[in-house]
């Protein structure tokens, strides 16, 4: 029974990882056709770095992810603090709305935002992408920070106040250090979600600001592009680093 369940787990992991391994291996493939093995080579990495449109899209994506993660972390942290500390009217509605944003299919969010931006006459580009990305990252930051605050000893801020700290001092010296790991984890998650998004970006981006997922999308719709293997491998390494960083921050803070 035990051996059976072990082998089952192993099998599913194998299936999950085969495509990723294939992608990485093929990124070093010298063959032009993309299907057969033609020896080791870095040619696709070279051609990737010489592809100006791709490089520009990469920088655009990185900048978008950086700013979207930062803005959503700021707003998300304030939201989580407000939900945790304040009593106000419509608190349940606010929580419900965040939950709905998290659960609703991306495409529903995408068309609703496209409608809004066109109605307002906002040029589709960096600003529309930023507003959209912050919106879908926000609930993830809020739940990350809320989870951290839920395990927080309420006596600490009271003690700080009893010792004469002002509210500002208390927030700066007690609350912010406590939620710091959650802020970093939330930021990393937001960054990754933004780098990965295809569905929402397809709707709210314009020709003035091309981002990486859309560039990849237009490349892989027809045929195989070995450059994408190289790019995919780089993105994989990048997200692995981000994920390990985030796990490390969260686990270190628990000790």
């Amino acid at each position: 029974m035990r051996g059976l369940s072990r082998s089952y787990l192993a099998l599913v992991y194998l299936l999950l990882y085969v495509p990723i391994v294939v992608l990485v291996v093929f990124s070093f493939n010298d063959s032009r056709t993309g299907y057969n093995w033609g020896g080791l080579s870095l040619r696709w990495y070279e051609s990737l770095f010489n592809n100006h449109a791709m490089m520009l899209a990469m920088w655009n994506s990185l900048w978008l992810a950086l700013t979207a993660a930062t803005v959503s972390t700021l707003i998300g942290a304030l939201t989580a603090l407000a939900l945790h500390r304040y009593r106000f009217r419509g608190k349940k509605v606010l929580k419900g709305m965040l939950f709905v944003v998290m659960m609703s299919p991306e495409i529903v969010l995408a068309i609703s935002l496209l409608g809004l931006f066109l109605l307002l006459g906002l040029q589709l580009g960096y600003v529309s992408l930023l507003l959209a990305h912050v919106t879908f990252c926000l609930p993830f930051v809020v739940i990350t920070v809320m989870a951290r605050l839920a395990g927080f000893d309420e006596r600490l801020p009271e003690a700080a106040r009893d010792l004469g700290a002002s509210d500002f001092t208390m927030t700066r010296t007690v609350l912010i250090p406590v939620i710091m790991p959650a802020l970093m984890a939330g930021w990393l998650l937001g960054f990754t979600l933004s780098m990965d998004d295809v569905v929402v970006s397809t709707f709210v981006s314009g020709p003035s600001y091309e981002i990486l997922p859309l560039r990849i999308y237009s490349m892989v719709r027809v045929g195989l592009k070995p450059e994408v293997n190289a790019l995919g491998t780089l993105l994989l390494v990048f997200s692995l680093v981000m994920l390990m960083l985030s796990q490390w921050i969260l686990s270190r803070s628990k000790q």
Binding site: I20, L78, V101, S104, P105, L109, T135, L236, L243
Partner: protein, 286 residues
Amino acid sequence: MMLSIKQQPFRAAVLVLVWGWLLFLVLAPNMLVVGASVMTRDPSIFISLPLNLDAYRQLFNPLYLEVFLHSLYMAATTTLVCLLIGYPFAWALSRVEKRRQILLIFLLIVPFWTNSLVRTYALKLILATNGLLNSALMSLGVIEEPVQLLYTEGAVIVGLVYLLLPFMILPLYSVFEDLRQDVLLASHDLGAGRFATFKNVIVPLTLPGVLAGVMLVLLPAMGLFFVPDILGGSRNLLVGNVIKNQFLDARNWPFGAAASIVLTLTMALLMFAHRLSKRRLGEEGT
């Protein structure tokens, strides 16, 4: 917590910011979609008066109805396959030693952090006519000629399962984690066999996890339009493809909006079922 007057401006500013963002970028756009769905298509400004239900009627046009049903079928199959793979997987995972579990969970969320487009593309490498799977099967002598795997319904379902499986496993894992061994022992002591324990104890206790997983898989499985674009060809479309075409290519906003409202209503229904199952457990559990 006590509130001093001094922190009131801060509180007000935070609440205005949060509410403002959500009202402006979530509520208002969604109202707009509802509005658009009952208006008339207009080639120049997208939508115009008069109000009517034509868009909803168009959903029942046999041509679109067929696409919707096919999409629903593919999404339902995806969800079922995820559940069949994920349920025993989550169960087995919850019984591994704690130290190992952390690593295994980590391995499960790595794909979630990896670009989904790139992973879909990786599947194409494997499923293509002269791709790896066909070559492997041919060299093993299972098949003589390459089989058409790409651009089929099966390819779309494989792609969707591959992208969405972790979303089924994680909520299931969390309910199996909460499933206490003494409950199972009690059931055994009361004379229940393995099957009776599974049916009367394990299934009801893990139902909220099942419904959460279904919700997290079924809805994206109808919306992830890039999966059929890359793996499915033109005949295996999702509701997401229809919505995208209607908004970006055909410029028929009322119809696209109506289709997206159908998706939202499906979501609401699933959320309701999820709440209901949790509430029932809450009442019976204590």
